[in-house]
Symmetry: C3
Subunit: 130 residues, 3 copies
């Protein structure tokens, strides 16, 4: 594993920990005790932020590792940095009832797509043209 790719991986783990902690804080503030996952909108926003960050990370990390293995590790890490910025932006935008999380979501999806394209490009060379 390339050091920059590992750094992006560890920062992704820290982002996931942060969204988990935000749900814990929202449970306290809004009085929503586990195992309930429904409640005031403020709680549900924090809960959806965590779920959507997990959903995105589950696509992002495998794409990152495959792209780094068959493409350029530093370029994969750069797309990874873009994904991290987009997902932090997404957390802030979704927690704000007046926020617009659309652009942050789009940027994070584009970063994953760029990793998928890079991985497939490298794989085409390795499998058919090598």
């Amino acid at each position: 594993m390339h050091p920059l790719v590992a750094l992006v991986t560890v920062l992704t783990v820290l982002l996931l920990m942060t969204t988990m902690a935000l749900v814990g804080r929202a449970r306290g503030r809004h009085g929503v005790k586990a195992p309930a996952t429904q409640g005031p909108e403020g709680f549900e926003r924090a809960f959806r932020v965590q779920m959507n960050t997990q959903e995105s990370a589950l696509m992002f990390l495998p794409a990152l590792w495959a792209a780094a293995a068959f493409g350029l590790p530093w370029l994969s890490a750069a797309f990874g940095a873009a994904w991290l910025v987009a997902r932090v932006w997404y957390v802030v935008a979704y927690l704000d009832p007046a926020g617009n999380r659309g652009p942050a979501f789009a940027l994070s999806a584009l970063a994953i797509l760029a990793l998928v394209v890079q991985a497939l490009w490298g794989l085409a060379w390795a499998l058919f043209l090598g």
Copy 2:
């Protein structure tokens, strides 16, 4: 990472993206705005498809990578292809209210079990018999 294993990994990412897009489409069709995750059965089916695909991918990918590292990479990729076919079948079967998703679920679980057995077999050799 073996090229065929990376190919299965990238196709898994594309499957996850597809199930995410299907939930977005179901939100539009059934008028279920985020952060809500409850609604008409058509929406809830699309949502459960995404959740169950994520749940299965989180078991599948680590099993795939461990099996490829300690077993035969091409055999791991073949079990991976079986998992991919089973999960596409599962999506189609679960979205159809008259569909039967049982066989697709069973096939995908068998593919993961085959990877687990392959990984444990290779690990037993590496750890105790090497």
Copy 3:
């Protein structure tokens, strides 16, 4: 992938399979048919156990692999074993209405943090001091 790290990885997959099977059993016992995810507290406890195990595994496995790549693989595997013990304890404690899942949750979070610190320590050497 170090054999002990792969062993922890495969045991994590088996833990995820077990929590999935426990939800299936709870669906039968409490008569909660998919796609519903709400129901009697006994069902919701089993469902939250699976969700929380997935949430933790998604942070744990990438941290484990990054720590093993840039730290000491056997130490990463030892923290991994602590995480596995903590998450099995968590399952048992959360399923029991009188149980206290707090200490198990704390231990599993500490294990992930230890892996993150180990990975960052190794990365600092690789990136800046190597």
